[in-house]
Symmetry: C2
Subunit: 315 residues, 2 copies
């Protein structure tokens, strides 16, 4: 998978994904959820005719697996041809999901962050963090990225593990909190229920990517920050329903019920405007969507076929 | 797949499937359907805790494939562990679907047909036909099976191809229509929109399995036959909604709106009674359900693991 698709190309593919999403070209019915006593399976099918494929992502979420040292989350993508219906490929969804999520943040940075951003911050060092970092580094000429984690040692390990791949940008674990004010770009990739920074820590002109909060009970960014920012979302319907970062200020009356943030695809098409001035605060909120999966899966398949990577199985 | 699970064991497994189905132990949300210009994908997930697995069946239906000599229908089953969520296996759904459909008919024959049935009839020679025949032969001591097809040559080819495997029962293609009246058991496995026989052709005491009609527009069995028969279904909700064999007489007022046929699982549990006399006409209508897939997939996986059949793949 890694040989077939890396961050630079994935960011390009996000143009296609978000344009298709905002133009209603993606068919992605609501996911189906089934729970056993121990956990939940989520089945998310989608079709993007332009990509030539159907994709269904089958994701398991079994929190108790932690105690058995098994993965809490696994994912498998099944790809079928949009013209013949024939099954084409089976892919691990873990790398692809992290990559496309990082690529969305990268595209948002290209479109919304101040292009001369030199300092960045990353909150969270879990499964999404490395691709979030890659998204930032591909999009902006960063000299330093400050890495924050609730567990200081996790930030240290993360920076040690990824410093070489991030060079010449320096990764700095657990810096003095004051340094957050120097950052022109911040990505949050945590499962936090409460904001991971305070509004007064954020300087004017900063661009924030929030990819962690995907349920109404979760929030990474303070309501005050959300309210003073220009908010851009991956998909309005899902973000306004699912993301606590937006849902909570709306429910508290801090944002109007008519709150209607632009979609990234609408900025790509020129229909809406993103950043208007260097001093503006911008916030890209993403809960992720099937269009991103489909364009990435199509590219992985193309590359795998072109280069002979992968295994042909008979069933 | 064939080495792992054959008809006799599949019929036994249908006891478990239909009992679980009627006792509400199967979680099977409505299938998700997505269509491209050329065809449709159907995604059907299910959980049966007693079988220890989740299953999602991804089926393609692309009618135009016929002109390219590609399969109109393909199916893939993904199996996840109910306790850990981990992906366990990927299976071709084609054989499994035909097998479990034939096994349901076989179980219905055991429970509902006159046990001394010697003559049978099979309508249809398509993808389901061979396993329908197997279901009949496993359940009843048949001497002859009359094979009917709209295309006489299809019946001839079918009988030639399967005569050896069906011995000592004789397969007779396109017999004189009068012989249908000799049959004590009939299976219909066609995509017909209109009944494949007339009511007066059916003798008292006959048991009929109908597995072809799965949409309200389709019907294989005449309304008169349905109305004079004791009707048993695999699952009430799906059969009364989807099967034209039942839907059409209900819509025409030939069956009451309160029509409430027994489920096979209710007969297994003794909650309801099937055949009451040798003269009674019985009709088992099946549209198929996820419980059948899950129990068969679980058994295939057990056997494959026990015997080392199958391929381990890394993704």
């Amino acid at each position: 998978m890694r040989q077939c698709l890396g961050m630079p190309r994935a960011i390009d593919l996000m143009h296609q994904a978000f344009a298709a999403l905002s133009q209603g070209e993606v068919t992605a019915p609501q996911r189906t959820k089934i729970s056993s006593d121990q956990g939940t399976m989520l089945y998310k099918p989608a079709l993007l005719p332009a990509a030539g494929i159907f994709v269904v992502k089958s994701v398991s979420v079994f929190p108790g697996n932690v105690t058995q040292k098994l993965p809490v989350t696994t994912g498998i993508l099944l790809v079928n041809d949009a013209t013949t219906g024939l099954p084409l490929a089976l892919m691990d969804a873990e790398y692809l999901t992290a990559l496309r999520t990082g690529a969305a943040a990268g595209l948002a940075c290209r479109l919304l962050a101040n292009p001369n951003s030199r300092q960045g911050a990353l909150f969270g060092t879990g499964g999404q963090a490395y691709q979030q970092l890659q998204g930032l580094l591909c999009a902006l000429p960063l000299d330093e990225v400050f890495v924050f984690s609730r567990h200081k040692e996790h930030a240290e390990v993360f920076c040690r593990d990824h410093s070489q791949a991030s060079s010449p940008c320096r990764l700095i674990p657990n810096p003095d909190r004051n340094r957050l004010h120097e950052c022109q770009v911040i990505s949050t990739a945590t499962t936090s229920l409460t904001p991971v920074f305070q509004d007064l820590e954020i300087a004017a002109g900063t661009h924030i990517n929030g990819i962690g909060s995907f349920m109404p009970t979760m929030a990474e960014v303070p309501a005050e920050t959300v309210c003073r920012a220009t908010v851009i979302v991956d998909q309005r319907s899902s973000c306004l329903n699912e993301a606590g970062d937006l849902r909570q200020p709306m429910d508290q009356g801090l944002l109007p019920a008519s709150f209607c943030p632009a979609e990234l695809g609408e900025i790509l098409s020129g229909e809406k405007v993103g950043r208007r001035s260097p001093e503006e605060l911008t916030f890209f909120k993403s809960v992720g969507n099937a269009a991103q999966d489909v364009v990435c899966a199509a590219e992985v398949l193309r590359q795998a076929e072109a280069t002979g990577i992968g295994t042909t199985i008979e069933i």
